[in-house]
Symmetry: C2
Subunit: 237 residues, 2 copies
């Protein structure tokens, strides 16, 4: 069975891709260059798509800097640093990109309908990213209705389904699942910063995304294989 | 009050823009270059946005030819010619672009949230385009729920609303409304073809979009001011 898998190249979406493969899907990976601060993640997406052996990997290009509204698409806004994971969950953070998952899922739906794939996988997570409105189960259910009503396939009785295998898992549980599935963490990229402009890039270790990732690896007594900047790893911070 | 208005440059969306203005909105027009066959419509969108005096006109660029799936995004598929409006309503036509309105509304939502606009206007029409799944009221209601749940504004109790002033109007009624509002029809563009590569472009008169438009003007005993190719106007066909 064909499946479109939204792939940012981060820890979550990479795990979802390997999970979809494990479920026997023929995977069509879909990434987005929306002129995000951390375009570095697209290199990771390519590497992960290659490793997983997808049928095809498409990247859609558009520019969300046209209107900004997020620290990921407007360089005048500063990335939060060194926040505790508990604090992140309390509010919708400045790294929230207006309607990003709605845009991503819309393109996923278009791609799925064009190739007659009955499923779209997305690595949303309601626990660690509980601050993001477009990662919660009620939102995904609403998009599911759009998938059913807004397409030819859906109207003809074959709605394209949204699969969210990580939605109720913690970051620790996602790493455990990824380890079972053999996700090559060293090829993934989670950091919101520009990677320090270095080759190979170095994750900052201080943005919300690095902090969540590092904390989860530490909780499992595992070493995250990504290179991090000085004083970035927990214990050192 | 700010409003994002989705503007293709066709008869319907141009009327919606003028309607939003008449309702007192400060209009932020949003167009899409998705590598459609009839990119000519973007010139019309620019002209109409100028005429209406919008606050801002943004155009988002992306490429739906990456996966095709429609006669508007795949040149190997042929545009239907000289169909009766009744026949068009019977089935989902080959000019249906997978998930197009879902993509358009998603960007509209993102833009609206970024500029804190409480409304998004779209010129969908359930009568003349009853074949299109993503023009029907149940679909718009489902997207409304996504708008409410998938954004920071919505979660904070201020959902961005979708306005569809044309949804229950026939093409004849839309032209009557546009005439009241002073829409400059000569600046609009509806034709699905490439415009014959001529300057000024000439509408084909044979595609579904031209046929619907010409039939409605004829029913009102009005002359559509657009230039059409030979034998294109009703009576001549």
């Amino acid at each position: 069975m064909k499946a479109v898998v939204l792939l940012s190249g981060g820890l979550d979406s990479s795990t979802v891709l390997y999970q979809a493969k494990a479920e026997g899907m023929q995977c069509y990976a879909l990434s987005f260059d929306y002129h995000q601060r951390h375009r570095q993640e697209l290199e990771a997406a390519r590497a992960i798509a290659d490793s997983a052996g997808v049928v095809e990997h498409q990247c859609v290009h558009f520019d969300l800097r046209q209107w900004g509204g997020s620290a990921l698409t407007d360089d005048r806004l500063t990335l939060p640093r060194d926040r505790d994971p508990e604090a992140m969950a309390q509010e919708i953070p400045i790294t929230y990109v207006p309607a990003r998952n709605t845009i991503f899922l819309s393109f996923g739906l278009a791609y799925a309908e064009a190739i007659a794939a009955p499923r779209v996988y997305i690595g949303v997570n309601a626990l660690d990213y509980s601050g993001y409105p477009d990662c919660r189960p009620d939102y995904i259910a609403a998009m599911g209705k759009v998938f059913a009503l807004g397409t030819k396939q859906g109207r003809e009785g074959h709605p394209i389904e949204i699969h969210t295998p990580l939605i109720h898992r913690s970051k620790v549980e996602i790493i455990q699942l990824g380890n079972q599935l053999g996700v090559p963490w060293a090829k993934t990229w989670s950091c919101y910063s520009e990677g320090g402009g270095q080759t190979p890039p170095i994750a900052c270790g201080h943005c919300d995304s690095c902090r969540l990732r590092l904390a989860a690896f530490q909780q499992l007594n595992l070493r995250d294989p990504l290179p991090y900047g000085a004083a970035a790893r927990p214990g050192a911070s």
